[in-house]
Point group: C2
Chain length 333, copies 2
């Protein structure tokens, strides 16, 4: 299945949703949102929009359950708007100055207004869900909204854990999964759950789709953690071992801390410097950090694919879903 038409419609739906703020007196506010979404301003274009994987998952899940992906477009926009709301606030919280190669919203507009940009994206996601009323019964909209809101609560939980881990040196692998379940897996899980719901799947099929998204999210994150330490700089486009310098509580690092060897001893002494990252990445690998992450990635990938087979997605959309999962799980960037 060619997903290009789906991606084009996702972009149009997103623009339609965001255009609720395209009104007199607040044009500059609307422009801030279109800048963040990657449509306007310096560096606008496909590189700046991101891959729109989450909305694509919604549509493919709907279609592979036999539903109309066109009808599910507002839900696709909703999850992408939630994702972008969290990115805008994350960037403030993490003090990040670049996002997809461009200045972040808070760098460009100041922190106070960037908080408001994030809030507006969140509100727009809520309104997008309501737009489903054109094509679905009210009960289904309430259920979709409930799934999405619970997911958003998971996001705030994961974000809290992430921030609360800062500066802590007593963390182990047990602290990893609750954080990452909220920060990464919850939204992908919601995409598949809502997509299958709108596709007309029964509860047990919805569960399978939801599990697929959940494990896909976990596998994706663990892989991201591996690439962040041992990735090929030339391929990932960012300096490898960057995550070590930033002190990111990634799975390999938490495994290394749990092993309590030389890596853990060095980590606990304070921030890692640029000059020592290569040696520390090697040390972490020799103390089981790489293996733990690779094992976890494989486990989560297996669980994701098992869930997807159980979901038994149909037709071209089903094939596209397997292809997308395969691409996400085998990426090297």
């Amino acid at each position: 299945m060619d997903v290009k038409p789906l991606l084009a419609h996702i972009e149009l739906e997103l623009q339609k949703q965001v255009s609720r703020l395209d009104a007199p007196r607040i044009k500059p506010f609307h422009e801030m949102l279109t800048y963040h979404m990657g449509w306007t301003g310096e560096g606008a274009g496909p590189e700046a929009t991101g891959k729109r994987i989450r909305p694509l998952m919604v549509l493919l899940c709907t279609a592979s359950c036999g539903g109309s992906w066109q009808h599910a477009l507002p839900a696709a926009a909703a999850v992408e708007l939630v994702h972008n709301f969290s990115l805008v606030h994350d960037d403030i919280q993490d003090n990040s100055d670049k996002r997809r190669g461009r200045p972040t919203a808070w760098v460009k507009y100041g922190m106070p207004i960037a908080i408001n940009v994030g809030d507006a994206l969140f509100v727009l996601s809520n309104l997008a869900v309501i737009d489903l009323k054109q094509n679905y019964p009210a009960e289904m909209i309430v259920r979709a909204a409930e799934i999405l809101h619970n997911t958003c609560l998971d996001l705030t939980r994961g974000q809290f854990l992430d921030m609360s881990y800062e500066g802590r040196i007593d963390l182990t692998l047990e602290d990893y999964w609750p954080m990452i379940s909220g920060k990464t897996a919850a939204l992908l899980s919601a995409c598949c759950h809502i997509g299958s719901l709108l596709g007309g799947a029964d509860e047990s099929k919805q569960d399978a789709y939801r599990s697929f998204g959940h494990y896909l999210g976990l596998a994706f994150q663990v892989q991201d953690d591996i690439l962040g330490i041992w990735g090929d700089e030339a391929v990932t486009g960012k300096s490898a071992a960057n995550d070590l310098i930033e002190g990111k509580k990634s799975l390999p690092v938490l495994a290394g801390l749990g092993a309590n060897g030389s890596f853990a001893a060095r980590w606990r002494q304070g921030p890692i410097q640029v000059g020592e990252v290569q040696e520390l990445a090697r040390l972490l690998a020799s103390e089981g950090g790489y293996e733990a992450a690779a094992d976890a990635a494989k486990q989560m990938t297996d669980l994701a694919l098992m869930s997807l087979r159980e979901a038994d997605p149909q037709g071209e959309a089903g094939e596209a879903l397997f292809e997308l999962a395969d691409k996400l799980l085998k990426r090297n960037q």
Copy 2:
């Protein structure tokens, strides 16, 4: 009607909604929310919770349309959670260090986590609306959610206008109403609208209730503006003319700027100092700032009461609604 039982139930419902975050690993996060809500931590108690006027309005509107206020409790919690979400983010944006006499969330927990506290309150408000499904048909929940989400979009619009006015010296009265409609009137309007919807009112009655909330909000804000410049310090509990020092774009100030006299000339020269506020407050009054605000307050009050009479609220709840409006519109603090 004695509103005390309603207020007690509102508090219980709010605690129930916020307890969604009372879970292992995130207890400290839950505590941050209960602190902001006024239930825990230093200075906890009735003074710290605020007056819960918005949820009370929801319940009184529902009951005065003949509905069960008990059934509407989740909606009451939802509007109060929206209000508190906006307060937490406002305090960061305005750099305010005190809220209801206590340190603000960002002062206590740091800006990054306070953003997350606000986000969580927002998510909880969304989930509270879904809880209405116990007692209302799905169509009504979708409608209530739509009203609330549109109101939240108004809040972000108003907040943007407020921030974008900063440092501008070309503002006039025309710039006042769009800002204040979003920042203050939208949520009170939504309270009355949703309350009457859940009470079973037809569309034209809902419109009357909605208008009542809208004009009540505008009247309330204009009155607040007057008290912020010419209020009795001993009664309001904050130093009068404080709004002048803070450079707040209140109605009297915008009227004064529009008059383009000595007050406007001084305003445009830069921040007002403590020593000159009394003289400037007198100057502003002599150049029509007080009269413009008093006239507007009277107009909005008349429109609010006219709308309420049109809504024709019934029974004890209806009487309580007139009393509450009267109290809000005749307050001196």
